[in-house]
Amino acid sequence: MVRFVARRLLQGVAVVFLVATLAFILFRLAPGDPFTRMGDASSASQEFKAQARRNLGLDQPLHTQYFRYIANLARGDLGMSFSEQRPVLRAIADRVPATVVLAAAALLIDFLLGIFIGAAQGSRAGSKADDLLSVLTLTLYSVPVFWLGLMLMLVFAHNVGLLDLLPATGSKTTGVYEYLTPLGQLTDRIRHLILPAVALGLVGAAGTARYQRAAMLDVIRQDFIRTARAKGLRERSVLLGHALRNSLLPIITLFGLSFPILLSGTVLVETVFAWPGLGKFVVDAIFARDYNVVTGAVIISACMVVLGNLLADLLYRAVDPRVRGVV
């Protein structure tokens, strides 16, 4: 167990290292040098420019720059954020919790709803209800997540929507939040979370349902299901106790694969709902030409993906006894 985790963590470090190298190469391939890209330098004096380049280490040969960059990275130093005048890592760390909360809520909706719909479809394959749900999941699967967000706002949000039920943007009510009771603060945060999490979760649920339906169909065709039916078990316990349980295995793999897609989605959803997470931070950083933040976010998100995959693997081992013996 420990060996397994250690091995996977080591592989994860290798992946993150490659991602960092990729980012470095992209950075150097791009037109202009990092200094001129930071802003208009036309009015700066020659001495100032030369000094600034020296400070940034740009006068060093490329391989020296690369080794310094990797060495800094290993120490957790992602450089400075110019728009915030503080280390990138700290600026990012302030945003990660909001993104994790949003992603976790979306994952919950994604898998609960997706597994429920897919299992219902798989156990009644070919029926009218199955067809109808297939149309629904196909449509949701094809919806741009940010557009779904806008449409949800149009129906449910304060001052925008037809129903005026939930706040449209942000993660808490500014100016009021500080005066609420702890319970009131929690409710306020949850109310803000609902629309973005539903937008992100629904799109994911459509994909999960498609997988779950196929997995359920696969399992239902197998011999042990026939045996369970033959020995007179009620259909309910055949479906829930035997079929559903076994069909969940491939879904755990899907859980691991869904992290990069989820993080891509948060960038768009956070922008739509002004959710103060990592995604919105990156988009703002691009327009502020704060490239260290963009590179840092790419590396941090790769770490999040690696950890997510590890979590999925551990879950897989906990659920499927067959995998436990294999390292």
Binding site: L18, L26, S142, V160, P260, L268, T271, V294, A302
Partner: protein, 277 residues
């Protein structure tokens, strides 16, 4: 080949998908003939933000431009980008996949570890980094950027297929008959791995349409005044209360396009992939 076509035409999803894509594709291809107005023409102050009407079925935007015409031209650009970017990604992905599956363990390991790393980066973030560094891009560079960041999945599929096809009897036979390396690749290997490539490519097109719209929505894809569905929705999101039609219709067209590609892709999978049939 004609037998495959017959089987495909019996697949309901495939038929619906092809029908949908034909209509949308015709709309995109014939945009100059079908669009009632010039998509970039500002029709005057009196025609700003008009709700849908007979003269403007999808209404007008904040600059007094006809939304229907812009949606038609936007769909055209989406189609061009999706087709070209997927073509590029299939070419790169197939080459890398064949090289990895056929080129020995060292090359295989190096290529696949790189692909693993690339797949660990959320795609939108990777694209954001590239677009942030290169700044303003035109349609051609956007195609290159999207195509060259979408081949990772394809290369994995192709590699797996190559590894399984490589061991089959006819490959052995061709080799022992003294058939050259290049002819083996082009006549024996590639024809036998096309099905999964077609499936991946079709589903990939829907994904590219969504991603391109997302990037334009963030303000990083195609720039004004060119009509782009994502950009239209970005402008529309600020006018959600006053002019919801400026964001509803571009999104709806995207949904239909992606449904079309998904249906055709599913149909291909049902018909061409023996493992799921």
């Amino acid at each position: 080949m004609s037998e495959t076509l017959l089987r495909l035409s019996r697949n309901r999803r495939w038929r619906y998908g092809i029908a949908l894509l034909t209509v949308l594709g015709a709309l995109a291809a014939l945009a100059p003939l079908l669009a009632p107005y010039d998509p970039t023409a500002q029709l005057g102050l009196a025609r700003q933000l008009l709700p849908p009407s007979a003269a403007h079925p999808f209404g007008t935007d904040i600059f007094g431009r006809d939304v229907l015409s812009r949606v038609i031209y936007g769909a055209r650009i989406s189609f061009v980008i999706a087709l070209s970017a997927v073509l590029l990604s299939v070419i790169i992905g197939t080459s890398v996949g064949v090289a990895a599956g056929y080129g020995g363990r060292l090359l295989d390991g190096a290529l696949m570890r790189t692909v693993d790393a690339a797949l660990a980066v959320p795609r939108v973030l990777l694209l954001l980094l590239v677009l942030a560094l290169w700044e303003r891009v035109g349609v051609a560079s956007l195609i290159i950027i999207l195509g060259s960041t979408s081949w990772f999945g394809v290369s994995r599929i192709v590699r797996a297929e190559v590894l399984s096809v490589r061991e089959r009897g006819y490959m052995e036979a061709a080799k022992s008959l003294g058939v050259g390396q290049r002819r083996i690749l082009s006549h024996h290997l590639l024809p036998n791995i096309t099905s999964p490539i077609i499936i991946a490519a079709t589903l990939g097109m829907g994904q590219i349409v969504l991603i391109e719209a997302g990037l334009s929505f963030l303000g990083l894809g195609i720039q004004e005044p060119t009509a782009s569905l994502g950009r239209m929705m970005q402008a529309g999101s600020a006018l959600l209360v006053n002019a919801p039609w400026t964001s509803i219709f571009p999104g709806a067209i995207i949904v239909l396009t992606v449904i079309g590609f998904s249906l055709v892709g599913d149909g291909f999978r049902d018909t061409l992939d023996p493992r799921t049939a």
